[in-house]
């Protein structure tokens, strides 16, 4: 190799080493430095905007959604975490069990704004306690409602979104009859909460009186009837990579059960459809219209050395103005009751539907590895029935056996 190229390589190597070494000075955690906060997705800048006037210095780190498992596991393994972290409700039990979260019961005594009665019953206090301890404060909420392309429904003789599951099934059949490649509804093959929402609205539960996971109930069977029925009617697509947003925008799937994120996606990607679609309550069964309470809470890392500062920040974020400001920044709904009933928030008719739904929504049972064991098992069982024609009783029995013994502690 030419001399100059070799020299260049040597210089580059030395440069790399020196630069690397200088970047080596890891910031040491002092008890008075900025708070480190982990936030999901690319919402780093938004969070900085949110806390800009709090008087508390904050260092925000954005974590990609897909990588949350690795990030949290390695943090737990080493003990090096942030001060505050955002935790999706489905992961709450797992990380509490790993000892990653600081118990907050005694600490929030001094912070009345963080007390459970500030938040909807479905998510506050004991609803999201692990082992009887409160380990997180509700932050953002999310739920599932029905979205319909009112224009397409009207064209096919349906003047109002279906209010019950039976109506939905009938309407879906009509819409699917529009032609080849057209459907009435879409069941995401990754949506584990959906059959559970169906079960709830049939009046059932997935946890029995003793706190054990139990799907072997007549209401669950009714939900399975509905789920498999939609496939049998040919009303839903069978491919796993169906894109919800594009499906809705293009009209291929004019009815969807989804969350506010869909509404945001549709309005930003297809503003010309404004007025041609709307949100409405989740279809009801015999047990009413009961949807999922999803969202994220915020927790304090178990060995954070800035607990007081962290609580102060949590307090700040839980003020109704900040909760509403976050909604304006990101479209994620608040959890504080005062914010949820705010008039300007509810001026948007879609948001009115969401806040009304949240009043009766339920969280998924706070069980460790819920997604991985129950969620995956449920989806595998149902999908094997509707996609590969597996025997219903065998598949469901296998699922019941897998989930036996799980319980909320």
């Amino acid at each position: 190799m030419k001399r100059t190229a070799k020299t260049a390589l040597a210089i580059a190597a030395v440069a790399g080493l020196t630069l690397g070494m200088s970047a080596c000075s890891a910031p040491t955690e002092e008890a008075s430095g900025p708070l480190t906060v982990w936030v999901m997705g690319d919402s780093g800048t938004n969070f900085e905007t949110l806390v800009a006037d709090s008087g508390i210095e904050v260092d925000v780190v954005a974590i990609p959604w897909d990588a949350i498992d690795e990030k949290l596991t390695t943090a737990v393994a080493s003990g090096n975490g942030p001060d505050i972290l955002q935790i999706g409700l489905s992961k709450l039990a797992t990380f509490a069990e790993a000892g990653a979260l600081l118990p907050l019961d005694s600490l929030i005594a001094d912070h009345p704004d963080l007390a459970p009665d500030n938040f909807p019953a479905g998510v506050s206090g004991t609803s999201t306690a692990v082992n009887g301890e409160i380990v997180s404060i509700p932050w953002t909420s999310d739920t599932r409602v029905l979205f319909t392309r009112t224009d397409i429904l009207a064209e096919n003789g349906i003047d109002a979104p279906p209010a019950t599951w039976d109506e939905l099934r009938a309407d879906a059949k009509i819409l699917a009859a529009r032609g080849e490649g057209q459907y009435g509804y879409y069941i995401p093959q990754w949506d584990a909460p959906l059959p559970i929402e169906m079960t709830w609205s049939m009046g059932g539960e997935v946890i029995d009186a003793d706190g054990n996971v139990n799907f072997d109930t007549p209401e669950f069977q009714k939900a399975v009837d509905l789920y498999t029925g939609l496939y049998a009617d040919g009303s839903v697509p069978t491919n796993s990579d169906f894109d919800q947003t594009q499906g809705f925008i293009s009209g291929i799937a004019p009815m969807l059960v989804s969350g506010p994120y869909l509404a945001n996606g549709v309005s930003s990607a297809a503003p010309e459809l404004d007025g041609k679609w709307q949100a409405s309550p989740l279809p009801a069964g015999d047990g009413g219209s009961i949807s999922l309470f999803a969202g994220s809470n915020l927790g304090i890392w178990h060995n954070s050395d800035q607990v007081d500062q962290s609580l102060a920040l949590l307090d700040y974020i839980s003020q109704p103005e900040q909760q509403l400001a976050w909604y304006k920044l990101t479209g994620e709904l608040p959890t504080v009751n005062a914010a949820l009933s705010d008039a300007t928030l509810n001026a948007d008719p879609n948001v009115q539907v969401y806040t009304a739904q949240l009043a009766t929504a339920k969280v998924l049972p706070i069980v460790a590895n819920w997604d991985g064991v129950v969620g995956t098992g449920l989806l595998n069982a149902l999908n094997s029935i509707v996609l590969t024609g597996a025997d219903r009783t065998t598949a469901l029995d296998a699922f019941f056996a897998e989930t036996k013994g799980l319980s909320i502690k």
């Binding site: 690795e70 596991t73 737990v76 069990e97 990653a100 064991v373 094997s384 996609l387």
Partner: protein, 292 residues
Amino acid sequence: MRNRLVPYFFVTPAMLLLITFGILPIAVAAVISTTNMNISAFASWNNVDFVGLDNYAKLFADSDFWQALGNTGLFAVVGVPAIVILSLGTALLLNRSQSWFFRSLRAFYFLPAITAIVAISLVWSYLYNTQFGLLNYLFSLVGVPPVQWLSDPWLAKFSVALVAVWRGTGLNIIIFLAALQGVPKEYLEAASLDGAGEWRKTVSITVPLLRFAIFFVSVTTTIAWLQFFDEPFVLTDGGPLGATTSVSIFLYKEGFRLNQFGYASAGSIVLFVIIAAITLVQLRLRRADDEY
């Protein structure tokens, strides 16, 4: 005379790094595989119990593990020859001429190998999408109904393997091209004078002279495909219903999604043993020609 310590001086820095980041972790994993360690271990070490070979027994009784093994074997058996043959063929063709045209084509064939997997997943998920993807759109223009590239269990295996082959040929084409530069032109010219045709020359002279390169590519590609992870992970997440789950994906899900570290470690030891065994077999078969 030469200082006896010289070779150690040269070899130590790299070996230290390899041992620290390569060998040590696998030793740790071996130890963990004999326990029932899961995430609660980080709360308290008392939550970890020694279970001997239980994890291995559970592993071999787990139908999902066998499915993953089967998928991995299928991918390797189909993918490795595909890559070797395609890379060799393309390199032979590219070597036909040293004109600027041929030389600039090389960059095109190398593109898939240098694109980040994150970008590849975006592009191919889009191309393969059943309703809105480009491939099915092109098909629809000629009247072919939409194909469920990533949803049909068998087709999904093919689709995922295709992306991996597309991606894997790039580097190997370069290696073969480089090796081809070492084939003495005199041999080929002599054969031409004797009246040998193109095909005959290629098969009887060029290919045998590429023995080592073919061997090298086969071994490294096999090792890579037995650890097949990226493409099925980003395109189908191992689905549908485990149809494209390789052993690596199975381990990842157990270890990170379900936090069953003991179980996942046992699986990875099994994978390691399989890879080592297959590689040793390949090395033995080659013994005759080389000193190791």
